[in-house]
C-alpha cells in the first residue's frame, strides 16, 4: 500500500503532490518556452531523443500528480475537469501548449518585430519579416478599387448615409413601429440603391460618372454583400412559403426553383450572368454587369435562405397553425402575425450561417472581372513593382473578412438573445 501511496496522492500528502506536480509542469513549459523564445536548449546535455521528449515526460508526470477527483480548489478543479481528465488528454494538452509556444516566436517576429511598414517602395522592405509597406501603399486600392482617388469621399459619404438610414428604424416613434418591416424590406433597399447609384455612380447632380468596372476593393465587397443580403432574404421567405403552399402549381415552381439554384455552382451562375445572359436581351437593352452579378447572387442565395427558413417553419408545432386558423385568421394574417415571427426567430443561426457564406462567396465575382477586396489582391500581387508580397495581402484580407464575419455572428447572437422566448 505504501508504494502505491508514493505514486498517487492521498489526503495526507495532497499538497506535497500538488506542489511537486505544478513544479514539474512549470519546468516542462519553461523548457519549451526558453527553447522557443531564446533558442537555448537547457537540456542539451542529455542524449538527443531524450532531450526532445523531456518536457513532455516532465509535464505528463506533473499533470498526473495534480490529477484528483475533487480538491475543493476551484482553479485546480477546472483544470482537472477540462484538460486533464486522463493520461491521453494530458498528453494532448501538453502537445497543444507546446505547439502554441513553438509557433509564437516565428509568427510574432514575421508579423511584427522583423516587419517593415515605412517607405513607399518595395526597396524599403529590407527586413526578413512581413512587408506591410505593400499593404500601406495599396491600402486605398484595397478599399476603393480603381475608383478615382479624389472621388473617394463619395463612397465614404454613401456608406455613412446608408448606415445612418439603417439605424433610422430604431428611432421611429411607437405608432410608426408597425411599418418597420415595410421600411426595411421595401423602402430601405430602394433608398440605399438610389443613394449608392447617385453618389457612387454619379452622372447627375454635377457628379462625374464612374463606371462600375472601376469600382472595387472592400467597398465593392460591401455593396455586393449588402444588396444580396437584403434581397435574398425576402426571396427566400417567399420561396419557403411557396414550397409549403397547398396550391400544387406554386409548390412545384418553388421546389423547381430551389432545386435548380442549389444544384448549380455559383461560379457558373456568375459566368452565365455576364456572358450568356446579355445574349438573350434585346440589343438596345443594357444592364450593368454589377447589377447582373448582384441579381445572380441574390437568386442563388435565395434558394439557400428558402431551405433554412423552411426548416424553421417545419419546427413549429401544428397547433400554432390550428390556433391561428381557429381564430379566423386567413393565410397571410396567420403567417405574418403567428408563424413567421416564431419561425424566423428559430432560423437566426441558420440565416446567419448562410449570410456569412454569402459574404465569403463575394470574391468569386472576380471571375467576371469585378475586383472586390480579394480580387484587388490578385491584381496587386501581379504588379511587377510589387512581386512577392501575396502573403501579406492575403493575411490582411483574411483579417478584414474575419472582422466582418465575426461582427455578423456576434450580431446574430445578440438577436437570438433578444428574441428568445420560452415555450
Amino acid at each position: 500500500m505504501n508504494s502505491l501511496n508514493f505514486l498517487k496522492s492521498n489526503k495526507q500528502n495532497f499538497y506535497y503532490f500538488l506542489y511537486l506536480g505544478l513544479f514539474l509542469f512549470s519546468i516542462s513549459i519553461l523548457d519549451v518556452a526558453i527553447n522557443a523564445f531564446l533558442k537555448i536548449n537547457i537540456t542539451s546535455f542529455l542524449p538527443g531523443i531524450l532531450s526532445i521528449f523531456l518536457p513532455l515526460v516532465l509535464g505528463f508526470v506533473g499533470l498526473n500528480f495534480i490529477r484528483t477527483e475533487y480538491s475543493g480548489i476551484k482553479s485546480l478543479d477546472i483544470i482537472n475537469k477540462n484538460i486533464n481528465t486522463n493520461n491521453f488528454n494530458a498528453i494532448l494538452t501538453l502537445l497543444i501548449i507546446f505547439a502554441i509556444i513553438k509557433a509564437t516566436p516565428p509568427s510574432l517576429s514575421w508579423m511584427i518585430f522583423d516587419a517593415n511598414i515605412s517607405g513607399d517602395t518595395k526597396e524599403a522592405c529590407t527586413g526578413t519579416g512581413a512587408c506591410w509597406t505593400y499593404v500601406k501603399v495599396w491600402f486605398r486600392r484595397f478599399m476603393y478599387g480603381m475608383y478615382p482617388n479624389d472621388l473617394h469621399w463619395r463612397i465614404n459619404l454613401a456608406f455613412i448615409l446608408v448606415i445612418a438610414l439603417g439605424f433610422f428604424g430604431f428611432f421611429l416613434r411607437d405608432n410608426l413601429k408597425k411599418y418597420l418591416a415595410l421600411y426595411y424590406v421595401i423602402i430601405y433597399p430602394i433608398i440605399a440603391f438610389l443613394v449608392i447609384y447617385y453618389l457612387i455612380s454619379g452622372g447627375s447632380f454635377g457628379l462625374v460618372w464612374v463606371e462600375t468596372g472601376a469600382w472595387g476593393g472592400l467597398s465593392l465587397t460591401f455593396i455586393v454583400s449588402f444588396f444580396c443580403l437584403i434581397f435574398c432574404f425576402p426571396l427566400g421567405m417567399v420561396l419557403a412559403l411557396g414550397r409549403r403552399s397547398s396550391l400544387p402549381m406554386i409548390r412545384y415552381i418553388s421546389i423547381g426553383y430551389i432545386e435548380f439554384w442549389r444544384g448549380v455552382p455559383l461560379i457558373t451562375v456568375l459566368f452565365m450572368s455576364s456572358v450568356m445572359f446579355p445574349m438573350f436581351l434585346p440589343e438596345d437593352f443594357f444592364m450593368d454587369k454589377l447589377v447582373r452579378v448582384i441579381i445572380a447572387i441574390t437568386l442563388f442565395e435565395g434558394a439557400y435562405c428558402a431551405e433554412v427558413i423552411r426548416g424553421g417553419l417545419q419546427a413549429l408545432p401544428r397547433g400554432q397553425y390550428d390556433a391561428a386558423k381557429s381564430l379566423g385568421m386567413g393565410y397571410w394574417k396567420m403567417h405574418i402575425f403567428v408563424i413567421l415571427p416564431q419561425a424566423l426567430k428559430l432560423v437566426i443561426p441558420g440565416i446567419c450561417n448562410t449570410f456569412l457564406a454569402l459574404v465569403k462567396d463575394t470574391p468569386l465575382i472576380f471571375v467576371v472581372g469585378l475586383a472586390e477586396l480579394a480580387g484587388m489582391l490578385a491584381l496587386a500581387k501581379t504588379n511587377p513593382k510589387w512581386l512577392g508580397f501575396a502573403m501579406e495581402g492575403y493575411i490582411f484580407a483574411a483579417i478584414i473578412f474575419w472582422i466582418i464575419c465575426y461582427a455578423m455572428s456576434k450580431y446574430s447572437y445578440n438577436l437570438e438573445a433578444k428574441y428568445k422566448t420560452e415555450r
Binding site: G319, Q320, D322, S326, K345
Partner: protein, 244 residues
C-alpha cells in the same frame, strides 16, 4: 326546438384508406351543451375539428349558423370567426404576451380598435381569473393558467359556439379543476358548447346531451341522466365501467 345552429348530415371522412368518420348525423341547437366521449382513435377530435374545418370532410354537409362549410374560403373564415376552439395543448402564441394573444384576432380579423380589444380582453381574462397575468408570456404561466388564457383568447372573438378538444388532458390533476370551473361558468352564461372530454363529472354537471363515439360512429346519443343511468349499447356500458 328551434332551427339547429350546427347541422351535421351524413358526414364521412377518410385519412387515406382509413375511414375516421362514418355517417355522422348531429344537430346542435343554440345554447345546448354537448359532451363527446369515447376511446382514443374513435374520431371525436376529428369530428369537432371538422366543425370549424381544421379538417375537411369528404362527404356529407356541415352547416354552421346558416353557412355551409365548403371549399369557399370566405365561408370558412366566417365560420371560424364565429366558432371558438380550445385545444388540448393550449396552443397559445409563445412570442406574444397573454394580452396580445387575446387581442391579436379581434384587432386583425374583426378590425376592432386596439383600445376596445384590450378592454374586451381584460374583461375576458377577469372572467377566467387571470387578469393579473395579462402582461406575462405563455411560457411563464402554469398549464392551468395557460389553458384558461386560451379560453379567454377564444372568447375574445365573441363566438356563438365554443369547441373544446380535450381541454384538460394535458394538465396536472390539481389544475384540472380551475379549468373546468371556467368552463362551467361559461356554460352557465348560456354558450353553445361541444366538449370532447373524459371528465365525466363535468359531463354530469353541465351537459344536456352526451354522445359516445367508437370507430368513427356515434354509438349512443342520449340525455345526460339517461346516458349514465342506463346506457343502451354494450360498448357504452363497457366504456363507462372502465372510466367511472
Amino acid at each position: 326546438m328551434s332551427e339547429p345552429i350546427i347541422k351535421i348530415e351524413n358526414v364521412n371522412k377518410w385519412f387515406g384508406d382509413f375511414q375516421v368518420l362514418k355517417d355522422i348525423n348531429l344537430d346542435v341547437s343554440a345554447k345546448q351543451k354537448i359532451v363527446v366521449c369515447g376511446p382514443s382513435g374513435s374520431g371525436k377530435s376529428t369530428l369537432i375539428r371538422c366543425i370549424n374545418r381544421l379538417e375537411e370532410h369528404q362527404k356529407g354537409t356541415i352547416i354552421v349558423d346558416g353557412t355551409e362549410l365548403s371549399e369557399n374560403t370566405k365561408n370558412i373564415e366566417q365560420v371560424r370567426a364565429e366558432v371558438g376552439m380550445v385545444f388540448q395543448q393550449f396552443n397559445l402564441f409563445p412570442h406574444l404576451s397573454i394580452l396580445d394573444n387575446c387581442t391579436l384576432a379581434p384587432i386583425w380579423v374583426k378590425k376592432m380598435a386596439k383600445k376596445e380589444a384590450q378592454e374586451l380582453a381584460m374583461k375576458q381574462l377577469e372572467q377566467v381569473q387571470i387578469a393579473d397575468q395579462a402582461n406575462k408570456f405563455p411560457g411563464q404561466l402554469s398549464g392551468g393558467q395557460q389553458q384558461r388564457s386560451a379560453i379567454a383568447r377564444a372568447l375574445c372573438m365573441q363566438p356563438k359556439i365554443m369547441l373544446f378538444d380535450e381541454p384538460t388532458s394535458a394538465l396536472d390533476p390539481e389544475m384540472i379543476k380551475e379549468v373546468l370551473d371556467a368552463m362551467v361558468n361559461l356554460a352557465k352564461g348560456g354558450m353553445t358548447m361541444i366538449v370532447v372530454t373524459h371528465e365525466m363529472g363535468f359531463a354530469k354537471e353541465v351537459a344536456d346531451e352526451v354522445i359516445f363515439m367508437d370507430e368513427g360512429m356515434i354509438v349512443e346519443k342520449a340525455e345526460t341522466k339517461e346516458f349514465f343511468a342506463n346506457p343502451k349499447s354494450d360498448r357504452t356500458k363497457l366504456f363507462l365501467s372502465q372510466i367511472l
